[in-house]
């Protein structure tokens, strides 16, 4: 029983961080119908930026999000404007390739600057755990989970109650109609992509506190993130959150009780089952005319 509860605690806390990572994917798909294969490397870039601020400037990595998130927002805005906007209307199917090219390019730059040595952000509280009876709750994972919830909540309020949020939702639902109503959909898409990068910066900081990373980490991440958003439903934030929690908890439980060799299997079995029964994912919307 102890092992079961401990696995739930660790898996659930990790799931929160995965949810934050996938929010950017959900945003870019929702507004641009673009599956952003660069989301994994954006998270890694966020890890490196926080790592730099911590090791060179001695700024706490969580505080450094106040700097790295706006910086990566600008990066995302620029990347979308330069690389994705030109192909949005004429060659939309190339956006998958384009985001992959961005991912490889950023990985290459990071490999040159930082080499491929493994890194981790080791703060004074990195190894602190709180004890509750037989259970250990790592402080870093709690901070990461709490921050993820705060950021996701902020994103939710932004999208639900702000003018910008209405523009994003309008663009997601029907871009042509949104344009007719005066929404600058190109600008909305660029801002949304920028926000996705900014959330990746925050997620990257948290990832770097908990795990070990190097530029190649993006390959581990992108597969998981895509699987999460597909399970939850492309374009659904609630779905992405549920998907992330499912992944985190499944992995932890199977690793502890069955075998780490099988830790990925249950999640993908659930994914397969959901897609057979609900091809649009748990909370995705079925498009009119879809089979």
């Amino acid at each position: 029983m102890t092992v079961f509860v401990q696995a739930l605690i660790l898996g659930g806390l990790t799931g929160g961080v995965y949810a934050l990572m996938t929010s950017g994917l959900t945003l870019s798909f929702g507004t641009m119908r673009v599956i952003n294969l660069a989301q994994g490397i954006f998270v890694v870039l966020g890890s490196y930026l926080s790592y730099l601020f911590f090791t060179d400037v001695h700024i706490d990595p969580i505080l450094s999000i106040l700097i790295t998130a706006p910086a990566m927002f600008v990066l995302g805005f620029v990347l979308q404007t330069i690389f994705l906007r030109p192909i949005r209307y004429n060659a939309h199917s190339l956006s998958l390739v384009m985001t992959w090219v961005m991912a490889i390019g950023i990985e290459g730059v990071l490999s040159i600057i930082f080499t491929t040595n493994q890194r981790s952000i080791v703060t004074s509280y990195a190894n602190t755990s709180w004890t509750f009876g037989p259970f250990e709750v790592p402080a870093v994972r709690v901070y990461a989970f709490a921050l993820s919830i705060v950021i996701l909540a902020g994103l939710y309020f932004l999208l639900e109650f702000s003018k910008f949020g209405r523009a994003v939702r309008a663009t997601s639902q029907r871009e042509s109609a949104a344009k007719l109503l005066g929404v600058n959909t190109d600008r909305v898409s660029a801002v949304a992509f920028g926000i996705g990068c900014a959330t990746a910066a925050a997620a990257g900081c948290l990832y770097g506190l908990i795990f070990i990373f190097n530029p190649n980490t993006q390959y581990d991440l992108i597969g998981r993130l895509l699987a999460i958003v597909v399970l939850g439903g492309l374009g659904s934030y609630k779905g992405a959150f549920i998907g992330a929690m499912t992944l985190g908890i499944c992995e932890a439980l199977v690793q502890s009780f069955i075998s780490p060799q099988w830790s990925d299997l249950p999640f993908f079995l659930i994914l397969a089952l959901v897609l057979i029964l609900r091809p649009q994912g748990l909370f995705g919307l079925r498009e009119r005319g879809a089979a």
Partner: protein
């Protein structure tokens, strides 16, 4: 019909003489040219290294070892008077790419010699490919049981005195040398699923089980596992006195991070790989937490291996940094170069078949292995040293004859 004139005949004869002369000159010139080309052509060595991917940190270190060896050889006239030129291709830590690289080296680049990549996972298929083309394959970082089990006639391991199966037994022998009251009674084995790590950990486990140390937990996890908290949770729940981790670098660091989160600190902790990395191990787990971790190796920057002070000095001169940050993989790949150099000097030849024969027949000395002799499968049968993190650095602690510091047991508790 006109008959050829005397003038015409002379012209024809002269032309023939001239033509023959030119041909002779051309032939002689060609020979000279060929000879000149052969002696001025470099000895090209093809090497596949993991410059990205899971083994990238050690791959990068391995590159420095090869480059240092090549520069030193060239400073002393090269091999048989010919400069050594390295062609290094990245394999992204994948066996398929490593094989492709070696195929290209042989069939496209027509290299003179080959040298091995990092890890048993890459060395075995690469050596098999090289064997098809009868190329010598000396490697310094792939001593898993599967590598020697293939018994390839062209393979020579020069990166240490022992195979993975035997390398970790120094830990087992050390623990069994302790008085019974100090020996751990239970052990857990969380192992990475690779030939090297499993081979070494399994051999240790078998020896401990024969001597009554009970296995309370054993698991094997795949290489893609990023979060090992579930595994370490199960290890902690089994409450072992000793942990023997069959690891490479990244997962080794991840095991320790998870153990820190769970406040799990066994009295004895041995890892097949991870602690020997002098920079990344303390950087990823916190330098205040490194004390008491054991691993095996034959090389440290201050070890008394023949040629070690010169190697360290040359390394720092070429690459900078501090002696304590030199990764042992650099010493291993340097040793590969030394083995090749010995064979070329002994045979006075660059013919791969001759080099294979001499390396399987004679003993040779390298930085990482000392003086060794390999069997027909390329496997050396010596012993590694036991190393431990003590006083902030990795040191040889056993056997006593070569130790730089006494072993520190039990492992101290974590420092927050």
């Amino acid at each position: 019909m006109t008959r050829p004139t005397l003038k015409g005949r002379s012209f024809t004869r002269s032309s023939a003489v001239l033509l023959l002369s030119f041909s002779a000159l051309a032939a002689y010139g060609g020979v000279v040219t060929s000879t000149a080309s052969a002696s001025s052509k470099p000895v090209v060595v093809g090497i596949s290294l993991s410059l990205s991917g899971d083994f990238s940190s050690t791959g990068q270190a391995g590159k420095l070892g090869y480059e240092l060896w090549a520069s030193q050889v060239n400073a002393h006239g090269g091999l048989l008077g010919r400069k050594v030129k390295l062609i290094i291709a990245s394999d992204a830590s994948t066996p398929n790419q490593a094989q492709t690289n070696y195929e290209n080296f042989i069939t496209h680049d027509h290299v003179t010699l080959l040298a091995g990549p990092y890890s048993s996972l890459l060395n075995l298929p690469s050596a098999k490919l090289a064997n098809r083309y009868h190329y010598l394959f000396v490697e310094g970082a792939g001593n898993g049981p599967a590598v020697f089990g293939a018994c390839l006639p062209n393979l020579v391991f020069a990166g240490g005195p022992a195979s993975a199966t035997n390398a970790g037994l120094v830990w087992a022998r050390y623990i069994l040398s302790l008085p019974k009251s100090k020996r751990p009674k239970t052990a857990a084995y969380p192992d990475l699923n690779t030939s090297f790590s499993l081979g070494e950990a399994d051999a240790i486990q078998k020896m401990f089980q024969r001597h009554g140390i009970k296995t309370v937990y054993h698991t094997v996890y795949p290489a893609e596992t990023v979060d090992l908290s579930g595994v370490m949770e199960s290890v902690k729940a089994a409450d072992p006195q000793m942990v023997v981790s069959g690891t490479q670098d990244t997962d080794g660091f991840a095991q320790v991070k998870a153990a820190l989160d769970l406040k799990f600190s066994p009295k004895y902790w041995f890892m097949t790989n991870g602690p020997e990395n002098p920079v990344q191990f303390p950087a990823t787990i916190g330098k205040q937490n490194v004390t008491g971790f054991f691993t095996t190796d034959i090389w440290t920057p201050t070890a008394s291996n023949p040629g070690n002070p010169q190697f360290v000095s040359a390394y720092l001169k070429k690459f900078g940094g501090k002696a304590t940050t030199i990764n042992s993989t650099a010493a291993e790949t340097y040793s590969v170069g030394q083995a090749i150099q010995f064979a070329v000097k002994k045979t006075h030849s660059l013919t791969n078949e001759k080099l294979i024969r001499v390396l399987h027949k004679d003993s040779f000395t390298t930085l990482a292995s000392g003086t060794i002799h390999v069997n027909k499968c390329g496997e050396p049968h010596g012993n590694q040293n036991l190393e431990e993190w003590v006083n902030g650095k990795i040191q040889i602690v056993w056997p006593k004859a070569v130790s730089q510091h006494a072993p520190l047991i039990p492992k101290p508790a974590w420092k927050s």
